[in-house]
Amino acid sequence: MAEITYLEAIREALFEEMERDSNVFCMGEDIGAYGGAFKVTEGLMAKYGDQRVIDTPISEAGFVGAAAGASHMGMRPVVEMQFIDFISCAYDMLTNYIATARYRAFLPCPLVVRGPSGGYVRGGPFHSQNPEAAFLHTPGLKIVYPATASDAKGLLKAAIRDDDPVLFFEHKYLYRRIKEEMPAGDHVVEIGKARVAREGKDLSIITYAATVWKALEAAEQLEKEDGLSVEVIDLRTLLPMDDEAIIATVKKTNRVLIVHEDTRTGGVAGEIAARINEHAFEWLDAPILRVTAADVPLPFAPPLEDYVLPQVADIVSVARKLAAY
């Protein structure tokens, strides 16, 4: 089979799931005839019609709420945010109504909210966000953020089939930049399981989304230049978090570097650090360190964006310090 991009993998998942289950339908701004701002849903309306591929008014709370209502009745809505930054407008609906529906009212809420996330694309402060941390502290939600094309496909399929609401973050830098051959058949990747993206024994980098690639590149460089064997863990799912995989790598390498693209304070790295403390403190030979964005709104100009976001060189330099600790 031919290689397809991360974006095409997502599209393939949508086609396959709409085909498999007539309850699956899509909503979002400009996803129909236009195929979405990034063309993820291209061709979907032509095939499934405008009842199952619905162009919405500009009202994120409105159509995310509508997705919840439809999901109570057995539908499986997949909602696109034109940019994930606009998920903030549906924050109340997601955290208060949707996340609690099953718990407080025994209402199933199987829906997916997906959209282009992340920076490194000169998108400026409102087209580059990584909002995962703002939802991490909402029991009832699941959060997925794939780094590879096959995970993007397999996890989206799993998200659509999941009986709970899933936030599915897609990294827009990866949309057309990475390619992969899809596993044959009905490729579903279990939600909640991390992936060892690279085996290593001296040091672990725990990360997810686009920075998985930064970490892999740093690992290669560290191997070549320093002879260090670096393990890279791609979390893939942030909620529920795969404690087993995290603990396993800590016990193996005893040194942990957490990398994420999101701002530092209040980012996901904190939660990971706390969990490692609780479950594997004795195995730590060095402090858990973080490489993240600086605590500023993400600026637009290339020199500024480059300075604020974590880069390979940052990972390399911190990893060296950690290895030498």
Partner: protein
């Protein structure tokens, strides 16, 4: 779209109701009022956990509108805090309500949520959350699913005058209007949002005019006239069922008891409450219609009153015997999978903290 004001529609759907059904309307209103009165007693006995929200004086708008739905067709509504009457019409039981207010372990939410915040999509109501306006998008989606599946079902959502100011109301009704969802939006105009009079809520004179912003019909009716309420709502329900889309109905009523039991209503002009009570009590008004226009005998209504009390008595007795919520049940059902959240490691095996661990008096009294 044109908006119109009507107290009773010229061709009245209620003319088609049998006398039995018309008497049933009285039953639901009386049940609503008496059940709330019972809850007031329980509240004073501190058996109610949390606040108590009354719909005194609004029973007709709740009951008359919900009565226009057809449960046999699978119609669904989403109530607000003052729609106990709507829920009863849709099949909620007094026992459930009392258990819920007492936060019992066998209450509809097993103690997770308050008062009438619960739902049952089979009987036809979707549980609200506190955040006002949010149920409008949700019901837009419920009714969208009817449309997508070609089911001839109708949905109804209630919002207060106050809640029309929320962005969620706007986004939800606009979405439903564009999609021509089979949805009826009831704006209960009871004069206040908590202490805020309508004049500080919106510069419109009539909330029905909000329909103009969505290209849908807006109708105002007397919400204290249960038949008039039934009439306009029934027309809107039929319209929705025919696939003609959303209607906004403004029901004029009055909130006689303040926002909740603790509200002293100091902000209400003198005499206003008394005026509504004397001149415009929806039950009294309907009793007159029943006795004078429909020739129902007084003793038939008395019998209903007695039946209502005995039903409520029975429900109260049962509810009082209900068990408290089970502490570790708190960990169940956040997700479908896993069905249960792991207890925190230091809590494994611990029941309620208050029962077993907590020193009762000390907390928070430290003064430093």
């Amino acid at each position: 779209m044109a908006t119109s004001t009507t107290s009773r529609a010229p061709s009245r759907p209620s003319d088609a109701l049998t006398l039995e059904r018309k008497v049933e309307l009285y039953y639901w209103m009386r049940l609503t009022r008496s059940l709330e009165e019972r809850l007031v007693n329980l509240y004073r006995q501190t058996k109610v956990v949390g606040g108590l929200f009354r719909s005194l004086g609004q029973e007709a708008d709740a009951v008359g509108s919900a009565f226009a739905l057809d449960r046999t067709k699978g119609d669904i509504l989403s109530p607000l805090i003052r729609n106990l009457g709507s829920m009863l019409v849709q099949g909620a039981e007094p026992l459930e309500i009392i258990r819920q207010y007492m936060a019992k372990g066998d209450s509809p939410t097993r103690g997770r949520e308050l008062n009438i915040h619960f739902g049952d999509t089979v009987r036809g109501f979707v549980g609200q959350i506190s955040h006002l306006g949010d149920m409008v998008p949700v019901m837009a989606g419920v009714t969208l699913s009817f449309k997508l599946r070609n089911e001839k079902r109708v949905g109804m959502v209630y919002v207060g005058d106050g809640a029309t100011s929320t962005g969620a109301f706007h986004e939800g009704i606009n979405f439903a209007a564009v999609q021509r969802c089979p949805l009826v939006v009831i704006v209960e105009n009871n004069g206040y949002a908590y202490s805020t009079p309508n004049s500080k809520q919106s510069a419109v004179k009539e909330f029905k005019d909000k329909a103009m912003a969505y290209g849908i019909p807006g109708i105002r009716a007397d919400g204290n006239d249960v038949l008039a309420t039934y009439d306009v709502t029934r027309d809107a329900v039929d319209r929705a069922r025919r696939g003609e889309g959303v209607t906004l109905i403004e029901l004029m009523t009055y909130r006689r008891k303040g926002h909740a039991e603790h509200d002293n209503q100091s902000y209400v002009p003198d005499g206003e409450i008394e005026r509504w009570e004397k001149q415009n009590d929806p039950i009294n008004r309907y009793v007159r219609v029943l006795l004078e226009e429909l020739q129902v005998e007084k003793k038939e209504l008395d019998a209903i009153d007695a039946r209502v009390i005995s039903e409520i008595d029975a429900a109260t007795d049962l509810a009082e015997q209900s068990p408290a919520a089970e502490p570790t049940d708190a960990l169940h059902g956040v997700y479908a999978v896993p069905a249960q959240v792991e207890p925190l490691w230091y809590r494994a095996g611990v029941r309620s903290a208050v029962e077993k661990n907590e020193r009762a008096a000390g907390w928070g009294t430290f003064n430093g």
